[in-house]
């Protein structure tokens, strides 16, 4: 089985967000870039499946749409254990554009399972995975919290409101995975880091595709008013405030 893991390059989660000139994009000075946390878990699970010889996973490829600036992040993915990588050389403008590029990569080379994190910590869209599957006309399963291979067949757990379902889908398909897919992200071993230098990153030119949306302005969230403190000796006052002032209970 060949598995493709789509990864996106995001600022580390502790980054303080500031805006660049014009407030259309963020100021990237001093930002530490990392693999999107959901994609990291997605990659970890995929590598766990590859480690198990009974699963029949032959290769794990990572794919990314971005400029050469993203290469360190792609190297990290290779260091963690992916076999090779593909980068489409283009700015990731919007989800539709990104998904179109990734779909083209997948069309060129046959993959059995395409793994996508359910959202990215920069644009929080939850879009690319579903879009890829539609471009390719293949099934997709979202909110996947577990993926195992039993007797050569992928078996997944999908989260639904108030419960879960055990689901199988014939390959090829897109698995859109969320927390629970792997317990914690794998990190690169020393050997992995050294090996990463030798693993190939193939660079493709983008195909023509539109972007259907555009960010016009970024703004800071409204600051909350300062916290109103209630005396610990008199918590009943809090209930009173919630009932009469905030009017929520």
């Amino acid at each position: 089985m060949k598995i493709l893991v789509c990864i996106s390059n995001v600022p580390d989660t502790t980054t303080k967000i500031r805006f660049a000139e014009g407030n259309k994009t963020i100021d990237t000075t001093g930002i530490q870039w990392v693999i999107n946390p959901w994609d990291e878990l997605s990659l970890t699970r995929t590598l766990e499946l590859k480690d198990d010889p009974s699963g029949g996973v032959k290769s794990v490829t990572v794919a990314h749409v971005g400029t050469a600036d993203s290469e360190p992040t792609i190297r990290k993915a290779l260091a963690i254990g992916a076999d090779d990588a593909v980068r489409v050389n283009a700015d990731s403008s919007d989800a539709f554009f990104v998904a179109a590029q990734l779909a083209e990569v997948i069309r060129k080379e046959q993959y059995d399972i395409i793994m996508c994190g359910i959202e990215s910590s920069d644009f929080n869209g939850s879009l690319v995975g579903g879009m890829i599957s539609e471009f390719l006309g293949i099934p997709s399963l979202s909110a996947v919290s577990a993926l195992n291979i039993e007797n050569g067949q992928p078996v997944m757990v999908r989260e639904i409101d108030g419960g879960k379902e055990v689901v199988t889908i014939p390959v090829p398909f897109v698995a859109i995975v969320q927390k629970g897919i792997a317990k914690e992200p794998r990190i690169a071993s020393m050997r992995g880091i050294m090996m990463a230098r030798t693993k190939p990153i193939r660079v493709f030119d983008p195909v023509a595709a539109e972007s259907l949306t555009e960010i016009k302005i970024l703004e800071k969230p409204a600051t909350r008013a300062a916290c109103k403190f209630v005396d610990a000796e008199n918590p009943a006052q809090l209930i009173d405030l919630l009932q009469n002032e905030a009017k929520i209970i």
């Binding site: 989660t13 502790t14 967000i17 963020i26 946390p37 919007d94 989800a95 539709f96 998904a99 359910i118 910590s121 920069d122 644009f123 929080n124 939850s126 879009l127 995975g129 579903g130 539609e134 099934p139 997709s140 979202s142 909110a143 639904i160 409101d161 108030g162 419960g163 879960k164 379902e165 689901v167 889908i169 398909f173 859109i176 927390k179 972007s211 259907l212 949306t213 555009e214 960010i215 016009k216 302005i217 970024l218 703004e219 969230p221 909350r224 916290c227 109103k228 403190f229 005396d231 610990a232 008199n234 918590p235 009943a236 809090l238 009173d240 919630l242 009932q243 905030a246 929520i248 209970i249």
Partner: protein, 322 residues
């Protein structure tokens, strides 16, 4: 040129989020000077369908088919896109819940419709069509222009209040023919968690963190939640340790929720946790450490020992209810 809203049902019943969607769609339709059409898929009886009319749905399309019992993304996308094309909808409104996340992106590609995902307000302008959504896990908000002719909006839960706006609500029943063999999703087993309030639906949430010291101390949290009709939640270390079910973990990599009231007990307020709750209308924090970061995000706070404060709060709520 109508506004189409997909109204999901659960075992034939609508939830609060359904009415949020219809109210939102109704408001958007008003901005566009057009009608709201609600699309319901599955076995919903007429009485329940009519309730959509209370919130502004002028027309209700009722699609029933045995084969639609399974949520297969491709099949649902087919149905919704067909209806959207037939009704000539310009704007399609779907929830940003799990179903919405499964279907909306496919729909976007099918109809070549730009999509604003996780929108929290009415469109800021119509020309260009601009929506408002959170980015960077809540650290920034974006004005996003949707350039395509057809637009899809997925609405974040609990960001728009249902508004009663009685409308005609004519029901049109539509038969669709689903080829069973085209359904690729194969459900082997279903496990439902009965009884508990679904966390993402809850209006009030009571949440505990490592400050509760041990899973044995959760009694007061559960009691307070029960009295308030709230769901229970927890921070990441608590879920990782196995003190509480993983489904209760709220935070950046757990559940993102936006209830009306979020009470955080013994939670320090790490950035990742705040990312999961920053959409809450009102945040209350109880913590022994007055410098805990949670107080910077909270609207109300008590600096004190949870084990002493919670019992008093419980008493106060009991008094309030009587």
């Amino acid at each position: 040129m109508s506004v189409l809203v997909y109204t999901e049902n659960w075992d034939g019943k609508f939830k609060k989020l359904t009415f949020e969607l219809v109210s939102y769609a109704s408001a958007v339709a008003e901005m566009l000077n057009t009608e709201v059409t609600a699309l319901s898929i599955g076995n919903v009886d007429e009485k329940e369908l009519k309730t959509l009319g209370q919130y502004g749905a002028e027309k209700i399309i009722n699609v029933t088919d045995e084969n639609l019992k399974i949520l297969d993304s491709q099949t649902y996308t087919n149905v919704i896109s067909d209806i959207a094309s037939n009704t000539g909808s310009e704007v399609i409104i779907i929830s940003n819940n799990n179903t919405g996340k499964a279907v909306a992106p496919r729909l976007s590609v099918r109809l070549k419709a730009g999509i604003g995902a996780g929108v929290t307000r009415l469109p800021l302008s119509l020309n260009p069509f601009t929506v408002y959504k959170k980015t960077y896990s809540g650290n920034a908000f974006a004005h996003v222009v949707i350039k395509s002719d057809i637009k899809i909006i997925t609405l974040a839960q609990n960001s728009f209040d249902p508004v009663e706006k009685p409308a005609s609500a004519t029901i049109e029943n539509i038969q669709v023919n689903i080829d069973r063999s085209l359904i690729k999703t194969n459900i082997k087993d279903t496990q439902k968690q009965t009884g508990r309030i679904v966390l993402t639906d809850a209006d009030i949430v009571v949440s505990g963190g490592r400050g509760m010291k041990s899973p044995d101390n959760w009694g007061p949290i559960e009691e307070l939640a029960e009295l308030l009709g709230a769901a229970t939640a927890c921070s990441r270390p608590v879920a990782d340790e196995g003190w509480r079910p993983i489904g209760e973990h709220t935070g950046q990599t757990g559940k993102i929720i936006a209830p009306n009231l979020y009470i955080a007990v013994g939670i320090s307020g790490a950035i990742q946790h705040l990312a999961g709750i920053s959409g809450s209308k009102c945040i209350v924090a109880i913590n022994t450490d007055k410098d805990a970061p949670i107080f910077e995000a909270a609207d109300f706070g008590i600096v004190g020992d949870a084990f002493k404060v919670l019992p008093k709060l419980i008493e106060a709520v009991k008094v309030m209810k009587s």
